[in-house]
């Protein structure tokens, strides 16, 4: 199969590679060494090279996408790609000319659920898009009105990959827009859960307003307090002092009544359920201090801590906001996963077909699925034959042929012809449904570090209450007012602000830096697990596509290299994966020239024969050579067998020129060049590295040998379900230690989701990206080492920030118990503590810019 046929449901080769429309300039002097696809920048297979064409394409998908972009005069896109060209943008999934009809988008049910009607003929809806990476994608997508008449507006939310489209129904339809998007390389999915998102959006906005109010109050109170503190040293008229105090009181009361009631509510909820978390001591300090302050303002004497209180509210809200955003980005990633299954199904009742919603399907119902549609449920085919694209679930990019009795998966696309399917599982029972459940369960767990602060919450509460009681006892002889004064000061000054701010801040900074280095981490939980210094756990690597590149390539050329080159030309027109590999790799390494091929013929299951530059070329397995009457060179064949035996997983292709066996090519899935170094580094960091693969044990062991993993840690022959089992087993058998699964999502997305941390390497299935906690936007395994280093640095920073904030709290507690604290002192200690926390979090070298290749 070539890239043309290979492909996820993303139709149209995706659009995210930096490439130049002027690639042809180089093409002339580089001959045909490496011609970049005009659209995606990847190497063009020799067979698809077109002489004298200024545009070259690696697949029909890219050609179609370029056609659209070119005909609409949007070539600027390619320049933008070069300018922005960030790491993530060079990704490209090998998707082909397969297209879906997207008929369900014109369905009345869809209309009702997902669209918003504006005026008479205008409809607005939101699509979640696959394959959106950078500013150039944004530019192109927002030019959609120029691509498709009838589209009135298109706005992209880059963070969520969500495109809001407004169309005029008289001129176009949603399915047409969807097809155009798919052709451009951005397969659209309906965006479900609109209700949930609206609620979230409202929450976000409310949070922002709260922060604004708290910030304004804190800032203004601080200004008023400047005057008051100046008055401490230079003297101030009592009337003026009172005015300032009243003004501060009003602002502080506003601050406590509105923005701070978030903490009040959550603390109250905690008390009602008889649990204590960090909000309880916070609320105690804030409100006790606030009320006591009001009392003293009216009394006209005594110390007031309004500045500290309102600043606390502001800082704590900022911490909460950062944390909330982190959780959002984790849940946004799942949204796509929930958009996979179709909305409606064609159910067969007697002789009739009826359109029903997916929810109403039951086991044993019979549904008819047309070509281009998604399977609505897991089932068994009872009539018809077809090919299905299950890439989104399994990452397997080849079309899977299905016949009567074969299983179908919900969310997979039916490619070639109509089939009838008996439903075996629906909704959450389907494999897709279970995967979604696994993923959303995992995402709902809050970062354990955040829980850490909560866990300490009740200790803190007891400690503070004890200290406050002791303070009251000590100072009671001096009168209740003095005693309460000191106790209130204690509660305010030791308010666990650092705990609330430290963790989210350090996490946010680390996640942001990691993202800039191409390590996309969803949520802080993953970082904490990876960075936990003590018991390191097991790191399970998938073989194909993770340790190896996952692409068949020519590993070695035995024999006459000059003549072997002719093989590439003979193979150029052939779409067999081995042929593609030979044509591509020999063209790249030895400068083969496809145009010399005069004639070539493919012999099914054996090889190819042809005439290249006047020479008769035969290549294929031993049977092919025998068929063509070529005597096998035993030296070459023996050497090939020896190599294959040593490395495992290699297959040999013999090349004969003019009736003589001249060379043998060894084909295999090569180990990534950085794999041995990365695995050694991970070992050194204390991980036990294991390999898990669906390939046979020998192959897995030989790859293990190549990268330095003992045979006892290599497990072959693992089916997807067994991979999941293995991860579960490891989780159960190692107390406390983490189980990290690294895979490309092909057959292992469930295992990725089940592991303590799942890491998806570049170029995996969409589903695996959602299932994984971390996805790598850079090639190779070294980014994993970087991730581990960074995670450890982040945890170190978090512990340091917590320690620093506790240190300040202890000082403040001591001072207030001794009665030595004053509002001014509190106003110095508290920002000092916050600034220290900020400084540590910012200054942390975790994911820093310095290259730390160890």
């Amino acid at each position: 199969m070539t890239a043309v046929q290979v492909g996820a449901m993303a139709a149209g080769g995706a659009v995210h590679a930096s490439s130049s429309p002027h690639a042809d300039e180089h093409a002339t002097h580089q001959a045909l060494l490496h011609t970049a696809c005009t659209h995606c920048g990847q190497a063009v297979p020799a067979g698809l090279l077109r002489a004298e064409a200024s545009e070259q394409f690696c697949c029909h998908g890219c050609e179609a996408a370029y056609g659209i972009i070119h005909s609409c005069g949007l070539e600027q896109y390619y320049q933008l790609l070069e300018e922005t060209g960030d790491v993530a943008s060079k990704q490209r999934d090998e998707s082909g000319g397969r297209s879906r009809a997207y008929g369900e988008f014109d369905d009345p049910v869809f209309r009702e659920l997902f669209c918003q009607r504006l005026g008479e003929s205008q409809v607005r809806t939101e699509f979640l898009l696959g394959g959106v990476h950078c500013g150039a994608c944004l530019w192109l997508l927002e030019r959609l009105p120029r691509v498709r008449a009838g589209v009135l507006e298109a706005r992209l939310d880059l963070r969520r990959s969500a495109l809001t489209v407004t169309i005029d129904e008289r001129a176009t339809s949603l399915s047409e827009v969807a097809r155009v998007l798919a052709k451009l390389g951005y397969p659209p999915h309906p965006s479900r859960g609109k209700g949930v998102r609206d609620v979230r959006r409202r929450e976000d906005r409310a949070m922002m307003v709260r922060m604004a109010v708290a910030g304004a109050c804190a800032g203004n109170i601080m200004l008023l307090y400047f005057a008051l503190y100046a008055g401490l040293f230079q003297g101030i008229e009592h009337a003026h002092e009172q005015l300032l105090r009243y003004a501060a009181m009003i602002l502080n009361t506003l601050c406590l009544a509105w923005p701070a009631n978030t903490f009040l509510r959550s603390a109250w909820a905690a008390i009602r359920t008889r649990t204590v978390h960090v909000d309880v001591p916070i609320v105690l300090g804030l409100y006790l201090g606030g009320i006591w302050g009001i009392w003293k303002t009216f009394a006209g004497a005594g110390d007031l801590y309004f500045d500290s209180i309102s600043a606390l509210v502001f800082f704590l809200l900022v911490g909460r906001f950062l944390q909330q955003r982190q959780n959002r980005s984790a849940s946004d990633a799942i949204e796509l996963l929930f958009s996979l299954a179709p909305l409606s199904a064609r159910k067969r009742e007697g002789d009739e077909l009826r359109e029903v919603s997916v929810e109403s399907l039951r086991v044993h119902d019979i549904v008819v699925v047309r070509a281009g549609e998604c399977f609505p449920a897991d089932g068994v085919i009872i009539e018809g034959q077809t090919n299905a694209d299950q890439a989104i679930l399994t990452g397997e990019s080849r079309a899977v042929p299905l016949g009567v009795g074969d299983d179908t998966l919900a969310g997979a696309t039916n490619l070639s012809s109509e089939v009838a399917v008996r439903v075996v599982a629906t909704g959450t029972q389907t494999r897709a449904g279970q995967l979604m459940k696994l993923v959303s369960d995992a995402a709902q767990q809050r970062a354990p570090v955040v829980l850490l602060a909560d866990r300490w919450g009740h200790w803190l509460l007891y400690a503070l209450l004890t200290l406050a009681t002791i303070t009251l006892r000590i100072w009671w002889q001096k009168g209740p007012a003095v005693a309460i004064d000191h106790a209130a000061a204690l509660l305010i000054a030791t308010c666990p602000c650092g705990l609330g701010l430290a963790t989210p801040l350090a996490m946010t900074i680390a996640l942001g830096r990691a993202a800039r280095r191409g390590l996309l981490v969803k949520g802080g939980a993953a970082l904490q697990v990876l960075g936990a210094a003590r018991h390191k756990g097991v790191l399970i690597l998938d073989k194909t596509g993770t340790i190896t590149t996952g692409k068949l390539s020519v590993v070695e050329v035995l024999g006459d290299r000059q003549l072997a080159v002719l093989a590439a030309a003979a193979e150029a027109g052939c779409s067999h994966p081995a042929a593609t590999a030979i044509a591509r790799d020999l063209a790249r390494d030895l400068g083969a020239d496809a145009s010399q091929c005069e004639l070539s013929e493919h012999v099914q299951g054996m090889g190819v024969r042809g005439i290249v530059a006047g020479k008769r070329v035969v290549l294929g397995n031993e049977a092919m050579l025998a068929r063509e009457g070529v005597h096998l060179q035993h030296e070459l064949a023996g050497a090939a067998r020896l190599r294959a035996g040593r490395a495992g997983g290699l297959s040999s292709v013999h090349v004969a020129v003019d009736g003589a066996h001249v060379a043998t090519l060894l084909l295999g899935d090569p180990v990534r060049p950085d794999a041995p170094r990365a695995i050694a580094a991970l070992r050194e960091a204390g991980w036990r590295v294991r390999v898990l693969s669906g390939d046979s044990q020998d192959v897995v062991e030989s790859v293990g040998r190549a990268v330095g993993i003992e045979a006892s840690d290599c497990m072959g022959g693992a089916l997807p379900a067994q991979k999941l089992e293995q991860v579960r087993y490891e989780l159960a058998s190692r107390q406390g230690g983490a189980v990290v699964m690294v895979g490309d999502g092909v057959n292992d997305s469930a295992a990725l989701a089940a592991a303590s941390v799942g890491i998806a390497v570049r170029g995996g299935a969409e589903a695996s990206l959602a299932a994984a906690d971390v996805s790598l936007a850079r090639e190779g395994l070294l980014p994993i080492v970087e991730l581990m280093d960074g995670a450890r640095g982040t945890m170190r920073a978090i512990h340091a920030t917590i320690a620093a904030s506790l240190f300040y709290n202890v000082i403040a507690a001591g001072l207030s118990m001794a009665g030595a604290i004053s509002p001014l002192l509190a106003a110095i200690i508290m920002p000092a503590s916050s600034l220290t926390v900020l400084g540590i979090a910012w200054g942390s070298r975790a994911f820093g810019t310095k290259e730390r290749g160890r």
Partner: protein
Amino acid sequence: MSVIVIMIPAAMLIAGLAVLAFARAAKHGQFDDLESPAHRMLHDDDAKR
């Protein structure tokens, strides 16, 4: 008393207006997407041809 009696409420009023303006912007979704506009403004020049 002195000018401060007027100045403080006036200052608070102005701060209040600023907060109101921010709240209004937030309610209209100005801060919902903080990433895309940064790219959008860079590539906008060709919008009208």
